[in-house]
């Protein structure tokens, strides 16, 4: 059977792409260091496949159809979009999918309880997926199963359902007839406002950030679910809901305390870095 050997959560701030270069600026050294720490763990544990839980930024999934959860079943993915090449200096990339694991996750018959997966066979991944992968596995040689969570376009899935997603991933991977070693990566951020009156002026809600770290540091799954009520999260910033992706990682790890739990300061915002080695 396959084994879920680790989980991690990282930021996907594309502004890092131009700024985090050698010689490393002092205020970005800690961010670069945490990406490196997770990157080395993926290498050390001999990971074969990455399940990446992130949120498309109204690029692939617009208001004309905005599913709650989407599992990528494609054999290949393109990334990114020309607007992100233009604005962030990102590069176009090609990524390999893992249809077999994707099918195990999405199923063929009935939807899992409390989840309503859609599937996608043609998906262009934006910076929410590409940026973490480029920092965590620059070779881009590991196959991936991308899972989109709607954390942007209300009505949003409740935080409880992100926890159910994590439990479903853990159980599915454990039951998958394969000898693959699987890592779960979630992509998101701390309190963040983009396009609102609090954008790029430091954290719009340091109190939320502190709570958000504590839930993972303490393994407080119920606290995280309760603390991520819609009104509270949106009060922390108009795109803060992407933090809720971390709940998926915590649940997948059986709700145990993270081995790394940090809101890393930088010039842009506080960056989430969480990591667990092996489920509880």
């Amino acid at each position: 059977m396959a084994e879920l050997v680790m989980a991690a959560a990282t930021p996907h701030n594309p502004l890092l792409w131009r700024a985090m270069r050698d010689p490393m600026p002092d205020d970005l050294a800690a961010v670069a260091g945490n990406f490196a720490r997770i990157r080395e763990t993926i290498r050390e544990l001999g990971v074969d496949v990455l399940v990446v839980v992130g949120t498309d930024h109204i690029r692939q999934f617009f208001f004309d159809h905005a599913p709650a959860f989407v599992v990528g079943k494609a054999a290949q993915y393109h990334g990114t979009y020309e607007n992100e090449v233009r604005t962030f200096g990102m590069e176009y990339v090609e990524l390999t999918g893992h249809p077999e694991l994707a099918e195990a996750i999405a199923g063929r018959e009935l939807l899992p309880e409390a989840i309503d997966f859609a599937v996608s066979h043609e998906w262009r991944l934006d910076h929410g997926f590409v940026i973490p992968l480029q920092y965590l596995r620059p070779e881009l040689d590991l196959p991936i199963v991308p899972i989109h969570t709607n954390a942007t376009l209300p009505p949003l899935p409740s935080p409880r359902r992100f926890a159910v997603l994590g439990e479903h991933l853990r159980e599915t991977i454990a039951a998958w007839e394969s000898d693959a070693r699987v890592a779960l990566i979630t992509s998101g951020h701390m309190a963040t406002d983009v396009g609102g009156p609090r954008q790029f002026a430091g954290s719009p809600d340091p109190e939320f950030d502190a709570d958000a770290v504590a839930w993972m540091r303490d393994g407080d799954l119920e606290g995280a679910v309760d603390g991520c009520r819609f009104d509270r999260v949106m009060a922390a910033g108009n795109v803060t809901y992407q933090y809720v992706n971390v709940i998926t990682a915590l649940a997948a790890m059986g709700g145990r305390p993270a081995d790394l739990a940090e809101a890393t300061e930088s010039r842009f915002a506080s960056s989430p870095f969480f990591m667990w080695r092996k489920p509880a």
């Binding site: 617009f62 208001f63 607007n83 406002d193 983009v194 009156p197 954008q199």
Partner: protein, 115 residues
């Protein structure tokens, strides 16, 4: 429907280098050209409608007006960033645009941007 069309227009521009260039060169002309496009036998649902107020806000590249009209903030910021990047130089750059944008939208507080 109206907020949806604001967002649809912004996305159509920002996702394409060519559209950004044409919008920057002639905002009003581009808006009217976009409105004149739309559904075809192959794309029967590609509706394009803006109110006169929305059309004028896009023609004037007026980010404060668009914010107040309910443009999705995330899409709006990236749309405005795309529309002003060509102005960046020694005297005006990304951080200046951030400050100007923030100052202009702040008086409107948190608007309802859900279509």
């Amino acid at each position: 429907m109206t907020k949806y069309m604001i967002d649809k227009f912004m996305r159509a521009v920002e996702m394409s280098d060519d559209a950004v260039s044409r919008y920057v060169a002639d905002p009003a002309g581009f808006v009217d050209e976009w409105l004149a496009g739309g559904g075809t036998p192959d794309l029967p649902t590609d509706d394009r409608v803006l109110t006169p107020e929305e059309r004028d806000a896009f023609a004037a590249v007026d980010h404060a007006a668009l914010y107040a009209l309910g443009a999705h903030p995330y899409l709006l910021w990236h749309f405005i960033e795309a529309a002003h990047t060509h102005e960046f130089g020694d005297g005006f750059g990304w951080r200046d645009l951030v400050e100007r944008y923030r100052a202009d939208v702040a008086p409107h507080g948190h608007v309802d941007y859900i279509p």
